[in-house]
């Protein structure tokens, strides 16, 4: 009897507590991330999840909207130097750091110097500084003063290069108040927030969540919500259920499996946002390692044996678009008029026969390399080549690190792989993946005419002129069947209907600056 009474009391108490504590924090936007951020420090920043979080805390000269348009952020105006070896930036007035200090030209210089300082372990941004005059001296510890960056006035800064860098204004820098290093020491980033973005770093509970708090003095206007909570949810299944139960406001969809599931569920699909990712997927055909690939007809035959429409519909449930060129939509420099690659089995057969391999006879053994998560795609290709060309291509499913190492070493005759843009410009694809001098030219494609066009583009500061060069170079590459674009994945995120202002872009989420929760 006593026990029953006690139990009843407890039950009433529990209901009371649940009712009062209930679902609080309604004004935080809750977003899933599938692992802890790798780092929370703008200097070492070099990875995806850290980028998703820090994009809301730190900013660069410019940003790019969902349509690939470059817009001013911390710089209002940028002009190329007449000799093409520098840029002059006029910075936005009235910008405050989270620390309360004003942002200005000296902070641009100081941020660069902090990145270059010996032993700084700088991440992604370091590669963007290499052409600045005097960068090496700072890195080698000869001086602390970066000679190539001149503070003209409080809000004007000039950067000089040893070699032209026309894309400098769009690089995703993370400017920060370097005074914090002096004040708080090298691990300052766990204690203070030193960016200029709409949110400031507040707390990171490892394995649980990262919390960013709205920055009231943000120059673009204080965010209308209290903050952003990035919740670490490694299991996608759990993330979906949390979203359905209202424990997440934004569900970031990482895998194609989950994306397909979302699109099959009527309720989730109605709340889903989709956009083409800034990522190409192509076939790499190394002409030095597999003799038949030296023949353009063979390259074309392999490429037109794949039915891109059927594949993106069937294998991806519409969550991918056929890729005909080597630049993705929404990236500055994209050419919407690029020629479609039609699925043409008859022509493919004929081409292969003309090249001396009728019905695939006489082809040396061939393997296509890839990773386990993409084996469905590769199996589809191999099946097409068997059916259309009569060529047996074995699958070579490798371990990731080994695969990448072998690709970079140029030791893989045939592979299917992708390339994701780190900064929003078509040059990222064209120069890194297909220029003969690039270490990421994993198919070891070499075409002097293509190289010459890219070299010219690299010193052309005027955007429309440069984009025209991209288009010419891309057409050259495609006519030569040097590459074989297959598909562009679709980014998917699901957002609760009471949330507005969340924008999914080719390069993942835009900052959650204008978000409201009703």
């Amino acid at each position: 009897m006593k026990a029953a009474k006690l139990f009843r009391c407890l039950a009433v108490a529990a209901v009371f507590v649940v009712g009062v504590v209930g679902p609080a924090q309604a004004r935080d936007l809750r977003i899933n991330i599938n692992a802890d951020p790798e780092m929370i420090d703008p200097i070492t920043m070099s990875a995806l999840i850290a980028g998703d979080v820090l994009r809301n805390v730190y900013q660069s000269f410019t940003w790019v909207d969902e349509n690939g348009k470059v817009l001013p952020a911390l710089a209002l105006k940028w002009t190329a130097h007449p000799d093409n070896l520098g840029w002059r930036f006029e910075l936005r007035p009235g910008v405050k750091f989270h620390t309360g200090r004003p942002f200005g030209a000296k902070d641009v210089k100081a941020s660069f110097e902090a990145l270059l300082a010996p032993g700084s372990k700088a991440g992604l941004q370091l590669q963007y500084l290499q052409r600045i005059v005097g960068a090496k001296d700072v890195q080698d510890g000869k001086t602390k003063d970066l000679a190539g960056v001149k503070v003209v006035s409080d809000l004007v800064v000039e950067v000089r290069f040893s070699a032209t860098d026309v894309l400098f204004p769009i690089y995703p820098f993370l400017f920060f108040d370097t005074q914090v290093i002096v004040d708080k020491g090298p691990n300052w980033f766990m204690e203070v927030s030193a960016g200029t973005g709409p949110y400031k770093f507040a707390a990171w509970r490892r394995g649980e969540n990262v919390y960013l708090q709205a920055f009231k003095d943000y120059y673009g206007g204080a965010p209308k919500i209290d903050g952003l909570r990035f919740i670490v949810v490694p299991s996608e299944e759990t993330a979906v259920t949390m979203y359905e139960a209202g424990e997440l406001d934004v569900l970031m969809v990482a895998s194609t499996d989950l994306a397909r599931r979302v699109m099959r569920d009527a309720k989730l699909r109605a709340e889903a946002k989709t956009v083409s990712a800034a990522q190409i997927t192509y076939l790499g055909m190394n002409q030095n390692l597999y003799a038949p690939f030296k023949d353009k007809r063979v390259r074309e035959a392999f490429c037109i044996s794949i039915d891109r429409d059927a594949m993106t519909r069937g294998l991806f449930g519409g969550l991918a678009q056929p890729l005909y060129g080597q630049i993705t939509p929404g990236i500055p420099g994209y050419n919407p008029a690029v020629k479609k690659i039609a699925y043409d089995p008859e022509r493919a057969k004929r081409l292969l026969a003309d090249a001396g391999y009728p019905g695939g006879r006489g082809m040396p053994p061939l393997r296509i390399a890839n990773l386990a998560p993409f084996r469905n795609e590769v199996a589809y290709y191999a099946d097409q080549w068997k059916q259309v060309l009569g060529v047996t291509v074995d699958l070579d499913i490798m371990e990731r690190a080994t695969f990448l190492r072998s690709l970079n070493a140029g030791e893989t005759p045939f592979f299917s792989w992708g390339w994701t843009a780190d900064y929003p410009d078509a040059l990222y694809y064209l120069s890194q993946v297909w220029h003969s001098k690039s270490s990421f030219n994993r198919a070891r494609y070499s075409n002097p005419a293509f190289d010459a066009l890219i070299d010219r583009a690299q010193v052309t500061a005027d955007d429309p002129t440069r984009y025209k060069l991209y288009h010419e170079a891309e057409a050259l590459l495609l006519d030569d069947w040097g590459t074989c674009g297959i598909f562009v994945r679709t980014n998917v995120a699901v957002v609760k209907p009471n949330v507005t202002g969340v924008t999914l872009a080719p390069m993942r989420m835009l900052p959650y600056e204008k978000v409201t929760i009703n």
Binding site: G207, T238, R400, N408
Partner: protein
């Protein structure tokens, strides 16, 4: 008794040492290494690779690395994580340290009374409908994998009824489903044991004597039979607790709980050697301590075991 405890305590040391050596060796011989993973798109960049290898001390012979590791360990230094640059291992696992043992302890605390009650009831009503019903439930509880049961309970109690949250670890409400789920197979196992022990005890002479001298059935069960059932049950609890701690690996993943189990999985995939080592050592330590406690308990309960050990 003191000598017995000391001897068992000394026996722990070689177990821990073996765990350190085995984990160290296993880590190094798993295909793929942390540096190539860190290199990612830069794979094959020899300059960067050499730099990273020397930074993390992985360019030295494995034996040197091992000696260095053990020497630091002796000073309580678990080293730095590979996955989170510059972050000490202790910081990576600090938040998680008590989560898995707490969930396991709560589950055990829930499982013991339920398990014993079910087992005793089934034994007392042997060969009736109630007994068959209970045994059926027990078999189900033991054989349905807990991730499958988890999906069902989440759907029912979190999504449909909204009584508990789906996942996370911010309030006590988040612990309800994980603890219940973990407790179910443990309770089922305990109930089966309790039923068997109870049936056995009920046939003992002293129970017959108790009945013969006219005690009420309630007194016979509570005072004479149950106490004797509790002894073997409580010693088994040690082993069950060990199983529960490792069982949290699955539960923590499903319910998104930042415990040791989840970190263990993540660090193994990332080849984060120092974190993996520390967690394996902690698990070994938990296991060994529990077995030690059970051994001591045995000794306390049954003097014959103590004497046996001396020989």
């Amino acid at each position: 008794m003191t000598a017995y405890v000391l001897r068992r305590l000394l026996g722990l040391l070689p177990v821990l040492v073996a765990a350190v050596v085995l984990t160290f060796v296993a880590n190094r011989f798993v295909p793929g290494d942390p540096i190539t993973i860190m290199l990612g798109d830069q794979g094959g960049n020899a300059v960067l690779e050499r730099k990273l290898r020397s930074e993390y001390g992985l360019d030295r012979p494995v034996t040197v690395q091992f000696v260095d590791y053990v020497a630091k360990l002796a000073h309580g230094d678990f080293g730095l994580s590979f996955r989170y640059p510059g972050v000490p291992v202790t910081q990576v696992i600090r938040n998680a340290l008590w989560i898995s043992p707490s969930i396991a302890a709560a589950a055990l605390a829930l499982a013991i009374p339920i398990g014993i009650a079910l087992g005793v009831v089934a034994a007392l009503r042997r060969n009736t409908l109630a007994d068959t019903g209970i045994v059926l439930v027990l078999v189900a509880g033991l054989s349905i994998p807990n991730f499958a049961l988890a999906a069902f309970l989440v759907w029912g109690f979190a999504l449909k009824l909204g009584w508990v949250p789906v996942a996370g670890w911010t309030s006590w409400r988040h612990a309800i489903l994980p603890v219940v789920l973990l407790a179910i197979p443990a309770a089922a196992y305990l109930a089966r044991l309790a039923r068997t022990f109870m049936l056995e005890v009920l046939q003992q002479d002293y129970v017959r004597t108790a009945r013969a001298k006219g005690l009420s059935e309630r007194l016979v069960v509570w005072r004479h039979a149950l106490r004797n059932v509790l002894v073997p049950i409580l010693t088994v609890c040690g082993v069950i607790f060990g199983g529960l701690i490792t069982g949290t690996v699955v539960i923590e993943t499903v319910f998104n709980i930042p415990g040791l189990g989840r970190i263990a999985i993540e660090s193994i995939f990332a080849r984060d050697y120092p974190v993996t080592m520390a967690i394996v050592m902690l698990f070994t330590f938990f296991y060994a301590t529990i077995n030690f406690a059970v051994d001591v308990l045995y000794g306390l309960v049954d003097p014959r075991i103590r004497l046996e050990a001396r020989r």
